[in-house]
């Protein structure tokens, strides 16, 4: 149905794609996997007509095509759901779906009624209730994803590309999405599915393409491959299995949260984290986990309850106070919240420690540089120079910079929100190793993660949130994926396949 051969793409001097290759058949779900920066998104953007390839050719239904822009790709029946949602927050859901293709009435006017009707028709089979007339601002990430899918459906596209659609979704929503994908393939469409979660790839896809460093490595039916095979192809070397570290018994409570409430977001949340302990907060996206973390760190205010650190109540609404009390916070959105992309690697690492890098009010540059250098090498960050803008790093290394920024403050409590979102397998393992090591050194860790295997592997204790409330607590030993999902969704009978 679609063939892309020898695609190359340069960004300035950076070769993002060297030999991109993909082949899609009707009715198949095809996985595209690879490490961070392997060039997956770049390949997708070439298919979408966003980037013009510097070389290679593309065949759609046997015809050679050169895409002049996103509109041309749409015309060719290719719909793309991008890694970052691309909605227009000020426009209605229906307009988001039909932007540029709104149904018209006499005199080339937009037929709003027909547009809303169409959206409702498209939503129906997905089993989602969404008001087509509401503006997109304030939609949950899952709902935003739904709008993107409806957009693809409305195009009646034969080729649907999804760039990490599950990265921001919880298990329940992933189910919903998979049902949709199955319907799509059933009707003869081709789906290109990108994900860092290999278990998903095995579950939904028939064939897989692996990329590394901008090159095509292999394309094979998924049957007969093991996840080790895939990982080996992605990284190009064997992964050393994580040795089970023996954990020390946790010490005194570092963080105590008492009946924390923020109207309409979370209610009556009480939890504690002890030194040397890793506590995971699991739940669906939108359950309010990030909000709890943000409230603890002082980004958001809360309406009731209190946060106690090492026995002392923490002033609400002040990240500075939280930091002074020894809290570090790795936020969920690396690009928006974790890093200042324009600043250099070293500036970013030092950003939370400016207070101690000064003397007489002046920053000490030499100390600052050595400091950044030191932490960068401790976390094995791959970089050219510490003065390079942090935006030039791959996703995983960016995440390590965020970690370095906080570890360098030697926090007593580290809150990590989705620490491995959008990170490849190898780096993910390294992050896990780091967290475990920190815990061994006595740091208390509160981890929010939507990835159940990660939660099960790393956490000592697992708390589950649903609709703004804590609904369950599991020790590491008794927790299973299904028990957590059951608690998170409130559907006690549900079992993962």
């Amino acid at each position: 149905m679609l063939v892309l051969e020898h695609a190359t793409k340069f960004f300035g001097a950076v070769r993002a794609l060297e030999d991109g290759e993909i082949e899609l058949y009707a009715g198949e779900t095809h996985a595209l996997v690879g490490e961070n920066g392997a060039g997956k998104s770049t390949l997708v953007k070439i298919l979408a007509g966003v980037h013009r390839p510097d070389g290679g050719r593309m065949l759609v239904r046997g015809e050679e095509l050169e895409l002049a822009g996103p509109a041309a790709a749409r015309e060719a029946g290719i719909a793309v759901i991008y890694q970052e949602p691309t909605l227009f927050p000020d426009l209605s859901v229906a307009e988001n779906v039909f932007m540029g293709r709104q149904p018209l009435r006499r005199g080339r006017r937009i037929d709003a009624r027909a547009m809303h009707r169409r959206v409702e028709e498209l939503l129906e089979p997905l089993g989602v209730r969404l008001d087509p007339g509401r503006i997109a601002r304030g939609l949950s990430i899952a709902d935003q994803q739904i709008v993107e899918i409806v957009k693809a459906l409305s195009l009646d596209a034969q080729i649907i590309v999804m760039d990490e659609p599950t990265a921001a979704l919880s298990a329940y929503e992933v189910r919903r999405l998979f049902r949709v994908i199955e319907t799509l393939c059933g009707s003869g469409r081709a789906v290109l599915f990108i994900s860092h979660r290999l278990e998903e790839v095995f579950e939904i896809c028939q064939r897989v393409t692996v990329m590394r460093d901008g090159r095509h490595i292999l394309t094979e039916p998924i049957e007969g491959l093991s996840s080790e095979d895939l990982v080996r192809a992605m990284v190009g070397r064997e992964l050393v299995a994580r040795e089970e570290t023996d954990r020390k018994a946790p010490g005194a409570a570092v963080l105590e949260v008492e009946r924390l409430t923020r109207e309409g977001v979370f209610l009556d949340v009480s939890l504690s984290v002890r030194s040397g302990e890793i506590v995971a907060l699991a739940g669906l996206v939108g359950a309010g986990r990030s909000e709890v973390a943000r409230a603890i760190f002082g980004i958001d205010r809360y309406d009731a309850g209190r946060v106690v650190l090492n026995g002392t109540p923490l002033r609400a609404g002040s990240p500075a106070a939280a930091m002074a009390a020894g809290v570090g916070f790795v936020p969920e959105d690396r690009r928006q919240q974790g890093l200042v992309m324009e600043l250099s690697i070293s500036d970013n690492i030092a950003l939370a420690s400016l207070g101690r890098l000064q003397r007489f009010g002046l920053l000490r540059r030499v100390v600052e540089r050595r400091f950044a250098q030191d932490w960068a090498s401790r976390l094995r960050i791959k970089f050219g120079r510490t003065t390079d803008p942090v935006g030039t790093l791959s996703g995983g290394n960016q995440q390590k910079v965020v970690l370095a920024k906080w570890l360098s403050r030697r926090p007593r409590l580290l809150i990590v929100d989705e620490p491995t979102r959008g990170i490849d397998v190898a780096t993910k393992a390294e992050v896990h190793r780091l967290l475990l090591e920190l815990a061994r050194e006595g740091v208390a860790i509160l981890m929010i993660s939507s990835e159940l295997p990660e939660v099960l592997r790393v956490a000592d204790r697992i708390l589950v949130m649903r609709e703004g409330r804590l609904v369950a607590e599991h020790g590491q030993a008794e927790a299973t994926e299904s028990s957590i999902v059951a608690a998170a969704t409130g559907q006690t009978g549900m079992v993962l396949p």
């Binding site: 927050p89 307009e95 509401r134 304030g138 939108g286 703004g468 409330r469 409130g490």
Partner: protein, 347 residues
């Protein structure tokens, strides 16, 4: 278990909350109409003559050029851009178009409009190109041309002025003509603004302007020809400023190189007061026109009330601040209402 939270959130019925949100949405225009009504009401209570024919006519006449410029500015602002050159452009067009009429006696008035339109469109094209192709921030571009155009005006005018006596009376009468007591020009401008608002609301390319302002990157990915749309918005804004210059000349009769100085800030103020978000994506041409009407009404009300005109600026300034604060308040409420609804849907 979670009944308290979901129960509270589900309390609103879908139908009702939808209606509520729609109402709040429309209220962004209602708000300004309400302020206008209150203002007119209070002024009239103090000074009943505020609502007499002649005064209404004055207000409408003073609003026309202003509202026209606000329409062009709205088209630019919804795309997350700004056009600061309109005041200078109006001045240049006013001078050159009236000079053509006064130098060549007997030339048809339409020539003046062509001259004005040509000047406006020409500069609009330049702005559009620089912003859309070279991707230079429009604030910087139009700030620069604000100076440049005014300077050209000063150099061309060189201390001379066009006086009413040298202009054909058909030209001068045009802006003040009225039919059944209603200024014709006001009606024409109302129609133009209406058409502009209709275009922005009901045409694909109009909606795309909003999309560009709402999420520029998303617009690119959606295949919207952003460059072309933004370019068009600047050309329209420039053209409108050019035509407005001709109307200005017709209205005031005496034109020197200072016509329209600092007018751009008033136009932006009207647009902001009218509920157009300064960072794009929302707002309507009707709202902006009402913003212009409100500011013009306040001006006139002060004169009519005999309040020292020294108060005029302070009051419009206060109004601008209040308007954006109010608008912000509404949109925060709106967002949180929507978020709660989406939480309920997810449940």
């Amino acid at each position: 278990m979670s009944s308290a939270l979901t129960g509270r959130l589900a309390a609103e019925e879908p139908g009702r909350s939808r209606r509520l949100v729609d109402l709040i949405f429309r209220a962004r225009e209602f708000g300004i109409i309400a302020v206008l009504a209150i203002f007119v009401g209070v002024t009239t209570a103090i000074q009943p003559r505020f609502l007499d024919d002649q005064n209404i006519k004055f207000v409408l006449l003073n609003t026309t050029i202003f509202a026209l410029l606000a329409l062009g500015e709205t088209m630019v602002v919804v795309t997350r851009n700004i056009d600061l050159s309109v005041g200078s452009l109006l001045g240049l067009s006013a001078f050159l178009s009236s000079e053509v009429l006064s130098e060549h006696r007997g030339i048809p008035v339409v020539v003046a409009f062509l001259v004005g339109l040509g000047i406006g469109a020409g500069w609009g094209i330049l702005h559009g190109l620089i912003v859309a192709v070279a991707k230079v921030p429009s604030l910087v571009v139009t700030l620069a041309t604000l100076y440049i155009i005014r300077g050209i005006d000063v150099v061309i005018a060189g201390g001379t002025e066009v006086v009413a006596n040298s202009l054909p009376s058909s030209f001068l009468g045009m802006s003040t003509a009225s039919f059944a007591g209603v200024p014709v020009l006001a009606v024409v401008v109302a129609c133009v603004v209406g058409a502009g608002a209709f275009y922005l609301r009901s045409f694909r390319s109009g909606r795309e302007l909003y999309a560009i302002g709402s999420n520029p990157e998303g617009a690119r990915l959606a295949g919207i020809p952003s460059g072309r749309r933004v370019f068009t918005a600047f050309v329209v804004s420039g053209s409108i400023a050019g035509v407005a210059g001709v109307l200005w000349a017709s209205y005031y009769g005496t034109i020197d190189s200072t016509a329209g100085t600092n007018y751009e800030l008033q136009v932006v103020a009207a647009v902001v007061v009218g509920g157009v978000a300064i960072f794009g994506g929302s707002g309507s041409a009707i709202g902006a026109a009402f913003g212009a009407l409100l500011l013009a009404t306040i001006d006139q009300a002060l004169y009519v009330l005999g309040i020292s005109s020294f108060w005029d600026q302070a009051i419009s300034g206060l109004l601008i601040v209040l308007a954006i604060a109010l608008d912000r308040g509404i949109s925060v409420r709106l967002t949180s209402a929507l978020r709660k609804r989406s939480l309920r849907h997810a449940a």
